[in-house]
């Protein structure tokens, strides 16, 4: 599904070129759950942003389903964001002026889904995440774990094929973190491809495959040891 070939990402300053990613090759198949690990500044988030079409590589090739997605027009990128991938962030990044319900609903509005269908879809997800009672609350009124659940709900409401999670548990206590990871794993079991960036060894193990990044270079790319079964 995802094919990265020789991806470089660098910044030029007056005297030198600083590499964030160097000659990264990566292939992710449909249905995989990949954890990207590495120390701060190793380029994890940049890699994720490139995969999520939020950032462009300085060199290299990137194709989705064998179609190059470099030099896409703005409109085509937006279409990928709407229909193909969902994002989860460490800081949740919910819109503070909107309720839980509205936050989850917004991607559907952008997609142009009809009001009645939207209601049904949001209701389904709220139900699934046990958040029906909280649908009219604002993000600040929720715990971190609950906010992240809303974040996940918002990311998957458009039924994306690919879920990109940038340290989804980074701001959470371990119990809540586990709940989030279990949710992700469940989504993966249902067939969703997931790529997560994490610092946490334990949470990385939820993935089926772990990639270790150091100074912009992939040092290790192995299947994870433990395979949880549900």
């Amino acid at each position: 599904m995802i094919h990265l070939n020789n991806i470089d990402k660098y910044y030029d300053s007056k005297f030198q070129r600083t590499f964030v990613l160097k000659a990264v090759n990566l292939e992710v198949k449909e249905g995989e759950f990949v954890s990207i690990m590495g120390p701060s500044g190793s380029g994890k988030s940049t890699l994720l942003n490139i995969i999520g079409l939020l950032d462009a590589p300085s060199a290299g090739e990137y194709s989705l389903y064998d179609k190059s997605v470099l030099d896409l027009k703005e409109k085509a990128k937006v279409d990928y964001h709407r229909n193909f991938m969902g994002f989860i962030f460490q800081a949740y990044h919910l819109i503070e002026e909107m309720t839980v319900y509205e936050n989850i609903e917004t991607p559907l509005i952008y997609k142009g889904v009809k009001s009645r269908d939207r209601q049904a879809m949001v209701a389904d997800l709220l139900d699934r995440f046990n958040m029906v009672a909280k649908k009219d609350l604002f993000p600040q009124q929720l715990s971190g774990g609950q906010q992240q659940l809303v974040g996940i709900a918002r990311a998957i409401i458009g039924k994306p094929k690919l879920l990109l999670a940038d340290e989804p548990t980074g701001n959470l206590q371990s119990v809540q973190g586990e709940m989030i990871m279990e949710t992700l794993q469940q989504l993966n079991n249902e067939g969703m491809t997931i790529i997560q960036v994490t610092h946490n060894e334990k949470f990385a193990e939820y993935g089926k495959r772990i990639i270790r990044l150091e100074d912009g270079i992939i040092r290790k790319d192995v299947a994870s040891k433990i395979v949880f079964s549900i």
């Binding site: 942003n49 703005e74 937006v78 964001h81 962030f89 990044h93 919910l94 002026e97 991607p107 990311a155």
Partner: protein, 802 residues
Amino acid sequence: MLKHYIKIAFRNLFRQKRLALINILGLSIGLACFSLFSLFTVNEFSFDRFNAKASRIYRVYDWWSFSDRQGSEPSSATPLGPAMKQDLAEVEDFVRINSAGEKLIRTGNQINRIKVSFADPQLFSIFTFPLIEGNAATALESPKHIVLTRDKAIQLFGKTDVVGRTVEIRTGDQFEPFEVGAVAENIPVNSSIRFDILGNFNYVLNSDYGRASINDWNMTIGISVYVLLHEKSKLMNETARLAEFRQKYFPGETEKNNDGSPTNGFGLQPLPDVHTGVNIDKWGASDPKNSWILISIAIGVLLIACINFITLAISRSAGRSKEVGIRKVIGGHRYQLIYQFLSESLLLSVISAVIGLILGYALLPFFNELSGRSLSFSFSQYPEMIGILSGIVLLVGLISGIYPALAISGFQPSEVLKRKLRFSGSNFFTKSLVSFQFVLSIGLIISMVVIMRQLAFMRSKDLGFYKENVVMIDTQSLDIQKNYPVFKQTLKSESSLLGIAGSVIGLGNGEGQMGRGYKFENRVETVIEYPIDYDFLEVLGMQLVAGRNFNPEIASDAISSVIVNETLVRNALGTNPEEALGKEFTSGKEGNRKVIIGVTRDFNFEDLTRTVRSQMFLFPSNFKPNALFVRINPGDPSKALAVLTAAWKTISSDLPIKYSFLDQKFDDFYQKEKRWSNIVAWAGGICIFLACMGLVGLTSLAVINRSTEIGIRKVNGARISEVMAMLNRDFVKWVAIAFVIATPIAWYAMHKWLESFAYKTELSWWIFALAGLLALGIALLTVSWQSWKAATRNPVEALKYE
């Protein structure tokens, strides 16, 4: 989608209450100004269009075009109207209107002063003035019929159902009965033709001077002639036919310009152009330039409010960048974000419009006073206002919203979501906008100071006579033979009055003038004449620079002696006052001989937009005083007024006394300037207020953005004053730049304005310095209010949350 945007916009407004308040308040005030000023303008340009036949009605005017002077004059000779109807087939009808002097009106034992105009009866078939009682055919059936307006009927009779009732009008020394033929609806405010009481023009024609004018093409008794043309007529453009018509009645006009064009002629001015046609009627028409100046000021105020919106939105963009990032990541297209931000600014604009309209409606009476109009906020009367206002609301929303929408929607999600993005609060663009606000504010302050200085200058200028502590009594209604001498004698015996003198014409605003051409040794000069009592010069404190005053003992003084002013001596005789004594000149037609017996220092009986003209005093034997000048002691005038009123009562118990203060009458010359200074002062005040509100918003955001920096500086030993200086420096710099830009523009504009006055104040440098300092001071105070709060804050608080 729109519902979604509006919901979010509302929540944003409530979250940022202070910014929302600044924006809404600013835009409301701006829109209130705009709605009032555009109402004024729409009214100016709507004049006379309510007449159903407006497109076919023309005012006839006289024009002259010599190589050295051009001009036109809208008052016509009495026989013009009938002659046009008779000679020119397309002239369907004509009406002569003689407007309007105030007259004493008696109904029962109640006496009022009301203006009385006269017109041919066909006025009601040419113009659209609906009658609420009576009908057009019989409204002015006979010369003794009159038409009242609704208001006047109610004032005189307490009701409108008064056809057939009698109204007495004072003419000469007695009251003459007239019959009410009809009652008209009140005249719309946007009508050039106005009357309170309308008499039949035939009544004027039956008077001595009216009869004399009937066949005289060379004089006017102050009438305007309007003609109604046939549907397809092109007469207004057929100069040849108008010239032919003129030739018939002015066979003596054979003079031609060098290029063969005629030097005099008749012209037809479309009725809708009459009100603003300054090219035809320089003194009577209302200059449309004023409307445009007002609209420009209103647009300036609106622009300042829009700029507040823009600068605040940009400064706040850091706060909204996260939202933009999220929306983009979850599939929002940039144009959808632009729509969202635009709908927010439009929503704000609509809310402000509602508040602004309410504000404008509430301020209308005040504005009417300020502008000297009596406008009403009526969308049915001014349907154009609906379009203008909705257009401006839309425009304001777009102008305010478009730049922030484009700037903010352009953020890249990968940057704003990951990094802690900080903006310095404002950029070059927003700061130049702030400068622009202050350019307007400072410019208006300078203009206001200059206008006020010019007003003060004109009021305090030595006019060459006493205008303070002089009461002018209207004696037109007194019987000259019997009452006047008695009244004057009674007042003379009062020791509390310092002097009494009569004159045929009053002085100051709204009084008439007489003048005619005289033949001097080698040239003809127009001289303004003032027939006066022999003691007039002394009572008004006018100085003789040569010769002597009139003397009632000398018989020739009442026949040929005149006292002239220095200007006449200089212009007409080209000599000095001493030499001028004894010189003679004659009136052009009759050949009456005048001998100069005295020369006065120059004096300004006219307003100070004009230079002193050639003027002279006469002391005629058939002296009929219409005004009596009484000099009283300085201080509280009430005692002197009581004496005057008591004396008046003894000789004329049935008529009320009418007096005015001379200095007031001269001040009244400058009502227009006073209005402008008020309007400019208000606009300037509003501008600077709005600009400062914007500054409050900007500094408070800058302070939030720099709170860590301030904290670190303080921890490292910066003093409060240093922190404040750091925060204030930026804003002060931009106000200073504004001052540099505003000064030459304002200087130029005010220089132009002062050119219309013959006597003017100087544009001293301190006016500009004062305006600059004022703006700077206000800006500094505003900014310091916020920066003080930031600078005195405990640095630990700011650093704790990092």
